[in-house]
């Protein structure tokens, strides 16, 4: 669905991508796995049209509508949980439809009792759940997750991962998932691209669906 063809990107003198090629399959979860600083976020930002490329081409095979779960929740502090989701849906649905959609997603992320709370009144995990609800409530067909579970404790991370799976199963979309956490990559992804070096280079590709035993995948990722 999204394809990078010979994409190059430089920030000042730092070459982040050089003739980089990658493909994100429709309605699948493709993971970009690798250490910090190899250009994963740049790839996500280019895919979401937030960063312009210097050379090459980004092919989007159909009208892509994006939603994004950033490393930090990026909520409007002056709006409540409800209003933060409403904010992105206003241009898309009429008010009656919005109310139902927002209530459903707030319910799904288990924040029913917190819909009038402001982001400052929420814990980090709760705020990130709002960000997840906002991304799924928005009628996108491409969802980008840039290390969305970073900084969360193990228990919260597991909860968020299962919540993500639940939401994705109900409303499948093309997902570009960035992480450097082996467990997250193995648990969530269909395909994993392992990146390293600078400019970014794909050093391995794993189709998780071909594996019965995830420990083998973990072993490959650990190398």
């Amino acid at each position: 669905m999204i394809e990078f063809i010979n994409v190059s990107k430089k920030f000042n003198d730092l070459k982040v991508l050089n003739n980089f090629n990658i493909r994100f399959e429709k309605d699948k979860i493709t993971c970009l796995f690798g250490p910090s600083g190899v250009g994963k976020t740049t790839i996500a930002n280019i895919a979401a049209n937030l960063t312009e490329i210097d050379n090459g081409e980004v092919k989007v095979t159909e009208n892509a509508v994006y939603s994004f779960v950033f490393q930090e929740p990026r909520l409007l502090e002056w709006y409540s949980v409800y209003d933060n989701i409403d904010f992105v849906l206003k241009n898309v649905y009429n008010s009656d439809k919005r109310v139902n959609i927002i209530k459903d997603y707030i319910d799904m992320v288990e924040l029913k009792d917190f819909e009038s709370y402001k982001p400052k009144e929420l814990s980090g995990g709760m705020a990130q759940r709002v960000s997840l609800a906002r991304a799924f409530a928005y009628p996108s067909n491409v969802l980008i997750l840039d290390e969305p579970f970073k900084g969360l404790d193990m228990k919260l991370k597991r909860e968020m991962i299962s919540l993500f799976k639940k939401l994705w199963n109900e409303s499948k979309r093309t997902v570009l998932f960035i992480t450097h956490d082996v467990d997250e990559a193995v648990t969530l992804s269909d395909f994993i691209y392992i990146l390293n070096e600078k400019p970014a280079k794909i050093i391995d590709y794993i189709n998780i669906l071909e594996y019965n035993d995830v420990s083998e995948v973990k072993y490959r990722l650990d190398i």
């Binding site: 979401a48 049209n49 937030l50 509508v65 994006y66 939603s67 994004f68 950033f70 930090e72 990026r74 409007l76 502090e77 002056w78 709006y79 904010f87 992105v88 206003k90 241009n91 928005y138």
Partner: protein, 248 residues
């Protein structure tokens, strides 16, 4: 908690008493009421003033002029500040003008205003012109301080420009506008009094300050100055209470 608030109030009273004591000492050393009246003489002058209706009418008129100048500067500063904050061309267009306003001496503005306006409107115009750049600058700073990450989020979700201005820029700039309004109001009291001294509207604190100087009623001058300080503090507190309701 209650104890610490009481303690803090007690400390403030003690500090005020200390400075009144210092004032008393200096007035005793100088020993000339015409240069530095004692706190007691000033207090009696104040009490005498508060017994006349004219004092209250004067306070009302001066307050009206300060508040009018302040409110006009807020309206103009915030609206123009928004346009300048979100559009570089508009900013470049107005920046030199506001830079000039900022550097013109207050006295020049007052004298020009005396030639242009009726005496009662001179202080309003001067207060507006002095407060406006503060509000304008703070509004722009607020808009420029908007978190780029929030703007990226808006771009991903295709939020239109008008809603970004209303829901993101506006709220981001509120703390800056609040700070600007508080500084501008304090300045407003000072420049309104100065403009009144030169333009001499019928009911104005400035006229009484001028008369005190002419008739060498220095305790009255001190008492009016005390009234201006108290009004400035009172209105700053009222403004803070009003602003507390807005998002911070």
């Amino acid at each position: 908690m209650k104890g610490s608030i009481l303690q803090s109030k007690y400390n403030k009273i003690l500090i005020a008493l200390f400075w009144i004591f210092v004032w008393e000492i200096f007035s005793l050393i100088i020993d000339q009421e015409i240069y530095l009246p004692s706190p007691i003489t000033t207090f009696y002058a104040l009490i005498d003033m508060l017994k006349t209706t004219d004092t209250y009418i004067t306070i009302l008129y001066s307050t009206y002029r300060t508040v009018a100048g302040f409110l006009i500067s807020c309206g103009a500063g915030i609206v123009l500040g928004y346009f300048c904050g979100i559009n570089k061309l508009v900013y470049d267009l107005f920046n030199p003008l506001i830079g000039i306003i900022r550097t013109i001496p207050v006295m020049s503005i007052i004298i020009i205003a005396i030639m242009w306006f009726k005496d009662t409107n001179v202080p309003i115009f001067v207060a507006f012109l002095m407060c406006f750049p503060i509000i304008w600058t703070n509004t722009i700073s607020g808009i420029k301080s908007t978190d780029v990450k929030l703007l990226q989020m808006c771009k991903v979700y295709n939020i239109n420009r008008l809603r970004i201005i209303k829901s993101v820029y506006f709220y981001s700039s509120i703390p800056y506008i609040k700070a600007g309004m508080i500084s501008a109001l304090g300045l407003g009291w000072k420049v309104t009094s100065a403009a009144e001294v030169l333009s001499l509207p019928k009911y104005s604190i400035g006229r009484f300050l001028y008369d005190s100087k002419v008739y060498l009623e220095i305790p009255d001058l001190f008492a009016w100055t005390f009234i201006i300080i108290m009004l400035s503090i009172l209105f700053e507190k009222l403004l803070k209470i009003f602003l507390r309701g807005l998002y911070d």
